[in-house]
Amino acid sequence: MLKLSLKKLDELFAAMAQSQALYIPADNGGQAQYLRWAPGMKMTAALNTVRSAKDFFFPQTEGLVNFKMTGKTIEVIDPRTEAEDFVVFGVRACDARSFSILDKVFLVDPVDTYYQNRREHGTIVTMACRQPEETCFCTSFGIDPTHPEGDAVCWMTDDALYFEAVTPKGEALKEKIASLFEESDDAAVKAQQAETKAVLDRLPLHTFTAEPLGGDVLMKVFDSPSWKSLSEACLGCGTCTFVCPTCQCYDVRDFDTGNGIQRFRCWDSCMYSDFTLMAHGNSRNSQVERFRQRFMHKLVYFPANNDGEYGCVGCGRCLAKCPISMNIVKVAKCLEGELK
């Protein structure tokens, strides 16, 4: 394991940013956000960023294809350039797991090469959590916030940063920065992990599990009478889907630049009334159905298609941000209560 004095953190960022873009969670007008690092930029003290890290691989808007139209003819132009190499530093365990969930959508046949291109060029350096908050429940999905997944993993104590490379990409990054570090044992990391685990045990959602919703209860859950009361206050604002690291729904639209047509995709939300609107009707006509779709997808449909893996990583963003304080834990608990 490698160790670096926190005094040398700026040097570390400079070394990482030398050959590629570096993004770190930083303060942006009082909100924690991933920003492209520039000399002098400090890491945020906030536990996690307001928006998730999915933008790096699945940006909010992204050009797909351009067209030039002349008379009756159409020219199709692939607008893509090779993505640049980049490092995302300080990703939390929940967001790190969200990438493997998005992979199960975008990298299965037929592969989404836009996503794949970015995925291949990105190196993820994760950061173990020290002070998880009361909205956190990543442990409910088998995630260990004291030892996140990633190309490389870091732990931060009061005075030092510990670094461990995991994948070949992580090893490649390690080579570039190793000269700044010294070798160290893992005693300090072990001690910190034990402390954090004690904090985790005290978190209110620590014992939550979505387990009872697995298996073949699909139709029972779908037909639950509770959807109506659960969704009653939902504004259909879509906040929960936009902040969610695993929400992957998108829209495809054309934009006339005056000099050709740009076809792009942008995040969309199953909470919106026009999401499934067709010329002859709407398969999810009311907010009850749209609300149900979001939670059924994460807790039942996604697991049904992916060996039981849930489409939620317990990051707590939707708990913190929903204007009516509705969230996936309330929904799951209510449904599970009915199954008993």
């Binding site: 009756k72 037929p110 699909l218 047509i261 499934t276 398969s283 059924m296 049904a304």
Partner: protein, 275 residues
């Protein structure tokens, strides 16, 4: 040019046939004059006019047609109105094929087939019908029950008269909703007509049409003694990506663009009733 599924190919419209007051059938080939891709009956393609929109359409021609693909398109909105207004020689974009298609080489092989269609619902079935007619030896008897609002709303009417009705071993039963001058055929709704005709229970049924027709016809078929495992249909939901990723067209954990659009009714029974 490329194998990227979200990046379409260019197609040229080489023929436009007016079928009904609101349905036209378009013939499409690639820039090289050949078919843009091969498909299985029941599969679809995303057609688009850049700047106007993109939409999913059944490939109504049979895969046994080696020269071109055809799409029967009902005018109902932005894109479809644009398509209806275009002229021969216009280029459009096309990507596909998408979806599972009908099991013509497996479950349907050797069976007596009953096709039931309403209105534009004939589009996906025409691909199967012409496929089966071209590979006659592989299938049993064919019966086609097809209905529309009026005589003028029967899609592919000329082909039905000139080709399907002339084939041996193909029985065609047409019906229209209301009496009309110059029509001496059957009058009445499809579900009732199916019950009147009382088709043999050994037949495998392929049914496409408006949701209301599907609902009543299925009920009628069950009354006659048909099992859900004998009846196939196609589903239509809003689509964008056509590859199971934009999250739009699901019924439960199935994506209609990828796992459908063809479903057997017993398969639909296991899914939430949300379509």
């Amino acid at each position: 040019m490329n194998t990227e599924t979200l990046i379409p190919k260019v197609g040229v419209v080489t023929d436009i046939r007016i079928d009904t007051p609101d349905v036209k059938t378009f013939r499409v080939v690639g820039l090289d004059g050949k078919k843009v891709f091969e498909h299985i009956p029941g599969q679809c393609a995303m057609l688009s006019v850049p700047g106007v929109g993109e939409g999913m359409f059944s490939i109504t021609s049979s895969p046994t047609n080696t020269e071109f693909m055809e799409f029967s398109i009902k005018k109902c909105g932005c894109l479809t109105s644009w398509l209806h207004a275009m002229e021969v020689g216009q280029q459009i974009t096309i990507r596909g094929p998408y979806g599972n298609g009908f099991p013509v080489e497996t479950a349907l092989k050797g069976k007596d087939l009953l096709f039931i269609a309403g209105g534009i619902g004939l589009a996906p079935l025409r691909s199967v019908i012409n496929y089966v007619r071209d590979k006659r030896e592989n299938y049993g008897k064919i019966q086609i029950i097809y209905g529309s609002r009026s005589k003028d709303d029967l899609v592919d009417y000329q082909e039905i008269l000139d080709e399907w009705m002339q084939d041996e071993g193909v029985e065609v039963n047409l019906t229209i909703d209301r009496e009309q001058e110059g029509w001496d055929g059957h009058v009445g709704f499809v579900p009732n007509y199916v019950k009147e005709l009382n088709p043999d229970l050994s037949k495998t049924v392929l049914m496409c049409g408006p949701p209301i027709m599907i609902k009543f016809t299925l009920a009628g078929l069950k009354e006659l003694g048909f099992q859900e495992t004998q009846v196939y249909t196609t589903m239509e939901l809003r689509m964008k990506c056509a590859i199971g990723k934009c999250g739009r067209c699901n019924i439960g954990n199935k994506y209609v663009c990828k796992d459908g659009p063809v479903f057997r009714f017993d398969e639909l029974d296991e899914l939430p009733n949300e379509y």
